[in-house]
């Protein structure tokens, strides 16, 4: 795991350690002392290159490699090295879409920090938001923030279900609403399950 240089590394280390992972952290001499309370190997970079340091770790025993530094090109180049050495699962955090595409090409799992930030902003600022997550086959799950121009606005759940052939629920404040008579209002979160085409139609 490549140090992010901030608190993210500590959070990730804690979670991974709680899940029984043996963690090899690549950091620097200055940051090293911040991790002595955690069950990690702390590899400190000195005059050698990152590549050489990573080669020194028994990569054949590594199950997952995680590169979360703020430097996209460093993350991708080290991730590619790990993939080429047979590490089965390599995950990187990236900010740029071009880097994401490159990572995906090499079988690297890319986590977009931009999208994570954006996702949070959607929720904090109540921005117009739709997300369809494929579940199985042609079916998926729609999350949608109901705004003034949303199709479901002012329609009852039974009506929506009948029109689009999907199952629908609403989240309003701390409440989950499933009553067929309930009407979608501005500011509701609408959750729907059904055929992906129908969900696209509903959210368009």
């Amino acid at each position: 795991m490549l140090d992010s240089g901030d608190d993210l590394t500590k959070l990730v280390v804690e979670v991974l350690a709680d899940n029984g992972y043996i963690i090899h952290l690549i950091s620097n001499e200055y940051r090293g002392k911040e991790f002595i309370k955690y069950p990690v190997y702390i590899h400190t970079i000195k005059s050698e290159s990152y590549e050489k340091l990573i080669e020194g770790i028994c990569l054949e025993d590594v199950e997952t490699a995680l590169f979360i530094s703020p430097n996209d090109s460093l993350n991708v180049s080290l991730a590619k090295l790990c993939r080429s050495r047979g590490v089965p699962r390599v995950i990187v955090t990236l900010r740029n879409q071009a880097a994401e595409e490159e990572a995906t090409e090499y079988g690297i799992t890319a986590v977009s920090t931009s999208r994570c930030v954006l996702g949070r902003l959607y929720r904090v600022l109540n921005l117009k938001y739709t997300k369809i997550t494929p579940l199985r086959g042609d079916f998926g799950l729609l999350e949608m923030f109901v705004t003034a121009d949303s199709k479901p606005l002012g329609r009852g759940l039974a009506e929506i279900e009948e029109s689009y052939g999907v199952k629908v629920a609403l989240m309003r404040d701390d409440e989950i609403i499933t009553s067929p008579d309930a009407v979608a209002q501005e500011g509701d979160y609408l959750i729907a399950m059904g055929a992906i085409g129908a969900l696209r139609d509903l959210s368009s």
């Binding site: 350690a17 899940n19 029984g20 309370k37 955690y38 702390i42 970079i45």
Partner: protein, 443 residues
């Protein structure tokens, strides 16, 4: 994908407690033997042994502050010197664990027998030997069925031992009975039988430190706790060692020690002004410590071989687990076989002469590994001793002292070294066989 892992629940004293029996038992076993050889120089010889132990503890502590997982010296040596050296360090250490089963079983029974003699019950040596076999067999059965080392039980025994031997015997004894000055105490006229032999045995008087590193995988904060536990083991070990030796030479007659060297602690307890009351608890506690050490020997031996087989350095048969009990039964049978072979002659000096030389070689390899790891400087340690031009002083002292210990142990008592040679040869053959069959390249 399912994942199994060890829970991180051990604190510093838990870690220490789990290796207490292992580390203390050796000294309880070997003190009388050192004294029988070194005569009036016993105290000085034990001081040398203590210095060696402290050097080993510091090296283990500093090395352990870099490794967060279970594996101990195998991991340390593998990281610094490669898999082949790592294999031999663990393979040799395993032999000592099997020997510990032998001496723990035998000495546990001898301590009980010796304690009973103070109450007029005479247990013939042959009966004690037979009982030691039964103890070893019983412990084998327990570990086969699958006893889990319990930190709570280990803590209770460690606390009991600290109370009875540490406080009531050593501290109170030093305060109440010490009348003669060091370094000869009351043995000023006792000529040494063989000082070099005494030094050889003292070099091996404090083994068990290696087990601390094995517990890193269960420690809450291994990089910090392993070195602290090593420091605690070194401090208490030194206190016990120096204190018991002073009391032995102050209060116990040399001929009594020389005629029955394996039970020095009970002899010390009996010599106290309140010895009449102390003999029973001291005898029971030391016997329990020895038997716990034998149990730990079974567990450690089988797990070391299991780990080596998992790493494809030994044939897969050693990583087989019993269908019902889920314990590494093949490794356990081998451990019982080696221990029984050492118990058959019933000769305490045979066990002493073979014991702990392998551990010293292991400690030497760990000290060399520390030098290498510090020199490379790429693995951050929570504990870092001073360096001179990139050379770790702790590592250097560890190499010098352990090398001296290995040389003393091998040059002075070479008669039974063929047993260790045979064991190393067997390991080499098994490693070669695994290399031919295995898919993983051996560095």
């Amino acid at each position: 994908m399912s994942r199994d892992w060890l829970r991180r629940r051990l604190n510093v004293f838990d870690i220490y407690s789990l290796v207490h029996a292992d580390s203390q038992s050796t000294f309880y076993f070997i003190l009388g033997v050192v004294a029988a050889e070194a005569g009036r120089y016993t105290f000085l010889v034990v001081l040398y042994g203590t210095a060696l132990m402290v050097a080993i503890a510091l090296a283990y502590g500093e090395m352990g502050s870099r490794f967060p997982e279970t594996g101990g010296s195998y991991l340390y040596v593998k990281t610094a010197l490669g898999r082949t050296f790592g294999f031999f360090s663990a393979w040799l250490l395993a032999l000592d664990q099997a020997i510990m089963v032998a001496y723990g079983s035998l000495d546990g029974v001898l301590y009980l027998a010796n304690m009973l003699s103070y109450y007029g019950v005479d247990v013939p040596y042959l009966v004690a030997r037979a009982l030691s076999f039964l103890v070893a067999l019983g412990l084998f059965a327990i570990t086969l069925v699958g006893i889990k080392e319990s930190a709570r039980a280990a803590t209770a025994i460690a606390l009991l031992d600290i109370a009875v031997v540490g406080v009531l015997t050593v501290l109170l004894g030093l305060a109440a009975s010490l009348r003669t000055p060091p370094p000869y105490f009351s043995w000023g006229n006792v000529p040494p039988s063989d000082v070099w032999a005494g030094l050889s045995y003292a070099s091996r008087g404090y083994t068990g430190m290696d087990a601390i590193g094995q517990l890193a995988g269960e420690a809450e904060m291994p990089l910090v706790q392993v070195p602290r536990a090593a420091a605690l083991a070194a401090g208490l070990g030194a206190l016990y060692g120096v204190g018991l030796t002073a009391l032995l030479m102050n209060s116990v007659a040399y001929p009594a020690v020389a005629s029955n060297p394996a039970t020095a602690v009970v002899q010390i307890a009996a010599s106290m002004p309140y010895g009449r009351w102390l003999v029973l608890p001291a005898g029971v506690v030391t016997a329990v410590v020895q038997i716990m050490a034998a149990l730990a020997g079974f567990v450690a031996f089988s797990r070391l071989l299991y780990k080596l087989a998992e790493e494809q350095l030994l044939p897969a048969v050693f990583s087989k687990v019993h269908r019902r009990f889920r314990t590494p039964h093949v490794s356990l049978v081998l451990s019982a076989a080696v221990a029984s072979a050492l118990l058959v002659p019933g000769e305490i000096y045979l066990i002493v002469d073979v014991y702990a030389i392998s551990s010293l070689i292991n400690y030497l390899l760990v000290s060399i590994s520390l030098l290498v790891v510090v020199r490379r400087g790429d693995l951050y340690g929570a504990v870092r001793s001073p360096t001179v031009k990139g050379i770790s002083l702790v590592g250097a002292v560890g190499v010098i002292t352990t090398l001296a210990g290995v040389l003393l142990s091998t040059l002075v008592r070479y008669g039974e070294l063929w047993i260790i040679g045979l064991w190393a040869l067997a390991g080499a053959l098994l490693l070669l066989r695994s290399r031919k069959k295995g898919v993983r390249p051996v560095k």
